[in-house]
Amino acid sequence: MRQALIGGIGNVLLGDDGVGPYVVKILESTYAFEESVEIIDLGTPALDLTHQIVGLQSLILVDAVASNDPAGTLALYTKEDILRDTPAQRLDPHSPALAECLMTASMLGTMPQHVLLVGIAGKCYEPGHPLSAAVRHSVGPAIDAILQELRRLGFTFQKKAFPDEPGIWWSDHEYSGPVETVR
């Protein structure tokens, strides 16, 4: 039974917006998790996220963040931080809708008990660009933040003795090996 979902959000074709899927690919290739933890590259699901989170106890998302901080800055957001935003007038009904999805879950009583968004400040969102250097350097700390949250919630995982090939198929730029984490 699935209890925790670690989802990478972002468009892999658009530079730093692809950091979420990148992080989960590296995470999945480097660590082995218990069966109740699902790891998935969600792309840009908009409202389709609503059905992904049904029945979860814990939701951890990784996404690029638009902020004034320098590229690569890591920021953690709780459920309350995300819900503080008022949903925008949905002129284009498929706009990204993390807050809307959580609000819908809240109304339906299906809100996961724990929600963490690991945000990484991006810099370049041009089609076909690789991750900016600063954003690449934040991949390790982002993985640490995810693992720390999992540990706090009581989920178990192990570092693989030999990491798998991460399968970053969308990038022409060579993958430079597993990122060393600080802990």
């Binding site: 953690l76 284009d92 009904p93």
Partner: protein, 566 residues
């Protein structure tokens, strides 16, 4: 003096739709539709192996992933003149149908129903009376007093909390909202149920495509599904039975709930059959191929000019020569370089951003044209073209909708009344009913073909060294999608995607002709110009999708921990 209203939800950095309207005497006198972000994704594809293109195009948009994957493999198969085994056609068709059913359900309930349904009237409803009313409309078994009371309690909890949460941005109490509290409750109860049934439709996509979002089972020449009747992990009796069960539940929801609710809304807002028509040129391509060569289809295609149903033209195939020759893209009012309209095979995507200027360039969307004219695409085009051609399945559900609306509201709509905002909603529900029926047909076709002992799913593509061109089409939930590929030396030389929302959200062209969103807004009456609910009703009726671009979470929340990266 006209007053300008801009609706621009400028809270995030993704490409999104912006609408500008000028209002005079409480009606729209001029309109501009624009997309606020650069879409140059196609350039990434140049130089790549055409057999890999679908993996990339599937990422054009996070909501319509499947459709871009399908159009891409079809474009390469068209260029290579490759036949597709029957099993692969049926499996693809089932994925496309299930995705479309999911999409239409979500569009009506989650993305546009609250333009018509006033959530804050629901606390005043009587759940028992609502249940009785529901019995007169539909045999649906989940309209019980208890189920309705539970939905009402959810709204009461949100309304009494003082924070409207998901409902914080509606135009509640607007004079254009006219449903009774009981009807509002009934529709809202189905809004909640819709989340459950759209998920079942996506489960079908997940079983056949092995992952959702982003199906994994496509390949140029067919599909990669392993067929093994006795296996539970491969496609066999057990998976087919599971798909059958899920589809049956979705079919019931579409035919007994979604279709009925749209007819009820139409019956209660009949004036919206006269508002929102706009461009009356319609375009649709045939889809759901029934043989390996793509020479016969379950869904018809063709085009209509200036609302003349009697003069409808027919496309024989999904890459009909007339379609191939007649599409061009104009960039006179789009932020791109270039003067002359270009055919997609010769298409360019070189940016020339100027900032929004309604008289000059104002959108990142190009203006696709068919024989030089703007075309409306989507369920309304699909239904009008099928109806005009006498397509039996289209006629069956269109006539049924007209009867149902008359039975509920005493209003007799005609196919001509479908040129409207409500017409687009009605057509989408009609199309969903057709797809629901076809879902079961194609599952049977697949099961029967496998039972005959045919396990073939793939034909090997051979890439020629000389230059070839192909077009892959799909009649997607939002309308005609076409991917155009030029292949040379086994690599992609050029690639263009002309997507449904590009047709509909198109800016003006070199002749000044409005795109469908723009034209549909002209003359729309506004009860309160400062709360332009009526503009949203019409724009939403197209089911716009601009999210094919970039997005990132907006960092306006409080940071609880910031790690500086050294």
């Amino acid at each position: 003096m006209a007053k300008r209203i801009t609706i621009d939800p400028i809270t995030r950095i993704e490409g999104h739709l912006r609408i500008d309207v000028e209002v005079e005497n409480n009606a729209v006198s001029n309109a501009w539709a624009s997309c606020t972000m650069w879409r140059g994704i196609e350039k990434i594809l140049r130089g790549r192996d055409p057999r890999d293109a679908w993996l990339f195009t599937q990422r054009f948009c996070g909501v319509c992933t499947t459709v871009h994957a399908m159009a891409s493999v079809r474009s390469v198969e068209d260029a290579l003149k490759l036949e597709i085994p029957l099993n692969a056609q049926y499996i693809r068709n089932l994925i496309l149908i299930a995705h479309a059913l999911h999409d239409h359900i979500v569009h009506f309930y989650q993305l546009s129903a609250l333009d018509w349904v006033d959530v804050l009237q629901i606390p005043k409803a009587d759940a028992a009376a609502t249940s009785k009313l529901a019995e007169t409309l539909s045999p649906w078994t989940r309209n019980s007093r208890n189920e309705l009371k539970a939905a009402q309690d959810r709204v009461n909890a949100v309304a009494s909390s003082g924070q409207l949460g998901i409902f914080a941005n509606g135009y509640w109490g607007h004079p254009a909202m006219r449903l009774s509290p009981d009807v509002n409750l009934l529709a809202f109860s189905h809004y909640v149920q819709a989340l459950e049934y759209q998920r079942k439709a996506l489960q079908v996509v997940g079983i056949l495509g092995s992952k959702t979002p982003h199906i994994q089972n496509l390949t140029v020449g067919g599909v990669a599904n392993a067929i093994d009747l006795d296996s539970t992990s491969a496609l066999g009796m057990s998976q087919l039975a599971m798909i059958g069960t899920l589809l049956q539940q979705v079919v019931d929801f579409v035919q007994q709930v979604y279709f009925v609710d749209v007819c009820a809304v139409a019956a209660m807002y009949p004036e919206w059959f006269k508002i929102g028509s706009g461009v009356r040129n319609y375009l649709a391509v045939p889809d759901l191929p029934l043989d390996s060569r793509g020479s016969s289809y379950d869904l018809p295609g063709g085009y209509i000019r200036d609302g003349d149903l009697a003069g409808v033209k027919t496309f024989q195939t999904a890459s009909d020569p007339i379609f191939r020759q007649s599409v061009s893209e104009d960039v006179m009012h789009a932020y791109y370089q270039g003067e002359k309209p270009l055919h997609p095979w010769a298409g360019e995507t070189e940016p020339a951003f100027t900032g929004w200027n309604g008289d000059e360039k104002y959108s990142w969307v190009k203006a696709p044209r068919f024989n030089g004219e703007p075309m409306q695409v989507g369920p309304l085009a699909q239904v009008l073209i099928g109806y005009a051609q006498g397509h039996p399945l289209t006629r069956k559900y269109t006539d049924m909708a007209i009867e149902k609306i008359a039975a509920i509201g005493g209003v007799r709509a005609t196919p001509a009344a479908l040129h409207s905002t409500l017409g687009r909603h009605a057509a989408r529900a009609i199309r969903a009913c057709m797809l629901a029926e076809l879902a079961q047909k194609h599952l049977q076709l697949l099961t029967d073909n496998i039972a005959k002992g045919d396990y073939t799913v793939h034909n090997q593509p051979v890439l020629p060294s000389h230059e070839v061109e192909g077009v892959g089409t799909h009649e997607a939930p939002r309308g005609t999608l076409s991917h155009w590929v030029v292949i040379k030396d086994e690599k992609i030389k050029n690639y263009q995607a002309v997507v449904p929302s590009t047709w509909n959200a198109s800016p003006r062209d070199k002749n000044g002709a409005h795109g469908p969103y723009e034209a549909s807004l002209l003359h729309t009456p506004l009860a309160r110009p400062e709360e332009p609910l009526e503009v949203l009703r019409t724009v939403h009726s197209f089911d716009p999708c601009m999210a094919c671009a970039c997005h990132a979470f907006d960092a306006s929340g409080r940071k609880i921990g910031v790690a500086k990266i050294l």
